[in-house]
Amino acid sequence: MKLELDPGVIARCCELAGAIAEPVSDFIAAHSTVAVERSVLRLCGVDGVTSDDVPLPNAVLDRLPAALREGGVARAFGAGLAHTGLDSLGLAGAIARGELTFDLFSAVRETAARSAATAQVTRGLERVRAARETRAEALERLPQEPPPLLYVIVASGNIYEDRTAAVAAAQAGAQIIAVIRSTGQSLLDFVPFGATTEGFGGTYATQENFQIMRAALDEVSQRLGRYVMLTNYASGLCMPEIAVMAALERLDMLLNDSMYGILFRDINMKRTFVDQHFSRMLNAYSGIIINTGEDNYLTTADAVEQAPAVLASQFINEEFAHRAGMEDAQIGLGDAYEIDPDLTDGLLFQLAQAQLARQVFPKAPLKYMPPTKHMTGDIFKGHLIDAMFNLTSVTTRQQIHLCGMLTEAIHTPFLADRVLSLENARYVMNTARHLGDEIEFKRGGIVERRAQDVLRGAAALLESVAERGLMRAIEERTFADVSRSPDGGRGFEGVFERAPDYWNPVEEALQRQPVTA
């Protein structure tokens, strides 16, 4: 089942994505952010909160004079380690409590500071590597079922109820569990701490919550004889820090998009570009598969019209991921089934779009999102729309399949909603298992023509973005119909230019490491 697509147009799109990313990469190379620096601290082993609940990485960075910050927190913190002989936690605590200040370490020699910091970072990255190996070994021992990999979310707000829900979902056939964050967390410029039981529309992403879920899923994986993956959300003001936590706690996937925060959370674009790059370098190293957020374009605007924008964004996300060292197999490009269910031949359009993405990015594990926008309180109809989505997914051989919920328009899923949703996917995907092998689309038919139109539309869009530059294009409402200015939005104050002697041992280590499949 192949659509005839012009390889020249595809190649041109890749080229344009490169041209679009290039100037942004230059910007990234010259800047850092508070979140990147806090990530370095986290990898050095700084974790915990102060007596008034400020996370230690924030507390430490807040005490770092701006002049030193431009050189990178690692050198200053390394100097402290060398000077005091304390371990990272001890030093961070003392700084946070005001018992020590950075000016005390100004005499420490560069090499001593670097080697103290490097030792910590090496230990941190060692833990990440170990987690990656544990995952590889587990996947070997407990192989997953063939794709589409069924992915469901838990979002009760309470990590312990989420755990119950996740285990039940795994038993009902889920292969990937995502814990949705509480509303608003992505706008916090710090990561909450500890096990949490009170979130709204989701559960806070904290390192302890990650641990609780990973342990529960490891246990049920063992019981079921298949590895159940864990996912959370990176995009937001703490993108790089969540990447660190996820790497340490062996999450398997992360929502991570190069533009989502800009467009949908009004996070400053410079902040986002720098953060996404650093977080993706870490994802690359930790073997985490990212999920990009193109589905979001379709929830706010018309899905038929937005299709070229989705494809264009996929090219851009892919390009940025490659630039951070990610392999194709780690790049879960987003797509979604959001066309109006009442459109005649809507299914044909969905098939076109899904198959197009499949052919354009043959090695990427596409993340296929379910219908959400057109779901209503009519759970019976909703269940059917989900079934057609499931059918499209298995027919076009999607890999990461986020299961739609019949109660999408009503509440974050109940335990039974998730089971019904998984049963829906399993039923449809089994009864239609080899449909994709059995059929061919008519040359020049509705489906093929639609795919060709979307591809051409994406190329045109990318041309116009390349011409204007990505930042200006975003300002000019090219994506999702929103305009963001380069210096507006949240978190801009956390972006700073790197000093000429800026040093980041994590970045250095990651750039050195060849990525191992």
Binding site: S156, E161, G377, F380, T407, I410, H411, F414
Partner: protein
């Protein structure tokens, strides 16, 4: 979980959350939505959310509602209404009959009244059985008679008397307007009237049958959806063995 007070589970223990849907015979409007909500409140539910309300025909509105019940059930107090426990294997059941009853057990089954759904009773009786579980015809120690469908209670009772039947299996699949209850009742009363009830093990089955309902109707047991032949065979073998012992 507190077994003395089990409540529905939405996404949090004891939240009592459940889904319901129904039709009201009234034109749809905002007022109909409110009527649906009030009705569910009157049923005793809390946090009533009318997730969907719409016109489905002139004078009819349809609703999907989520709400929370304050009710809980004491599951520790639920007696073992189960008849479908710890099945014997075919050999064990045969052996039990051979040793205790010391003769073949004569079983007659039928789908009674005007009901013609034989698939269920065939599943229990026929060689082939159900879901890979052999039917009673395959057992050495049963002599079975499958009378088929649309057999009146009179016919079945006559047959039971004439053929000295030990066990009657009556099936009912159509339940509309209580036709199943009516037919089961008629059969039981007729057996009483003919003085055969004592002698005969009287079982019923069908997708809407529960053991509780069967015993309330004076039957020895009732078997619902998904029954396996071996569960029925085991029940018969054990009861016939008990009776044989009692008669010693």
């Amino acid at each position: 979980m507190n077994a003395a007070a089990v409540k529905p589970y939405g996404d949090t223990l004891n939240d009592g959350a459940m889904q319901m849907s129904f039709t009201l015979p009234m034109e749809f409007s905002e007022a109909a939505n409110e009527a649906a909500r009030q009705l569910v409140v009157k049923m005793g539910f809390k946090d009533v959310a009318v997730a969907e309300g719409r016109a489905i025909a002139d004078g009819f509105s349809f609703f999907v509602v989520y709400a929370k019940t304050p009710q809980a059930v004491d599951v520790s107090a639920i007696g073992a209404h189960a008849v479908r426990e710890s099945s014997l294997s075919m050999d064990e059941a045969d052996a039990l009959i051979r040793e205790r009853v010391k003769r073949k057990v004569r079983v007659a089954g039928a789908c009674i009244g005007t009901d013609a759904h034989t698939v269920g009773i065939d599943a229990i009786l026929s060689m082939k059985g159900y879901k890979g579980n052999y039917g009673l015809e395959r057992y050495h120690e049963f002599e079975t008679f499958n009378l088929g469908s649309q057999i009146s209670p009179e016919e079945l009772v006559r047959f039971a008397r004439d053929k000295a039947i030990d066990v009657i299996l009556a099936s009912q699949v159509v339940t509309q307007k209580g036709s199943d209850i009516a037919n089961f009742t008629a059969l039981g009363e007729l057996l009483e009237a003919e003085g055969l009830r004592e002698r005969i093990l009287l079982l019923c089955g069908g997708p809407r049958v529960t053991n509780l309902m069967a015993t309330e109707l004076g039957y020895d047991a009732g078997f619902g959806r998904g029954t396996l032949p071996s569960e029925v065979a085991s029940f018969i073998a054990r009861r016939m063995a008990e009776r044989a012992r009692a008669n010693v």
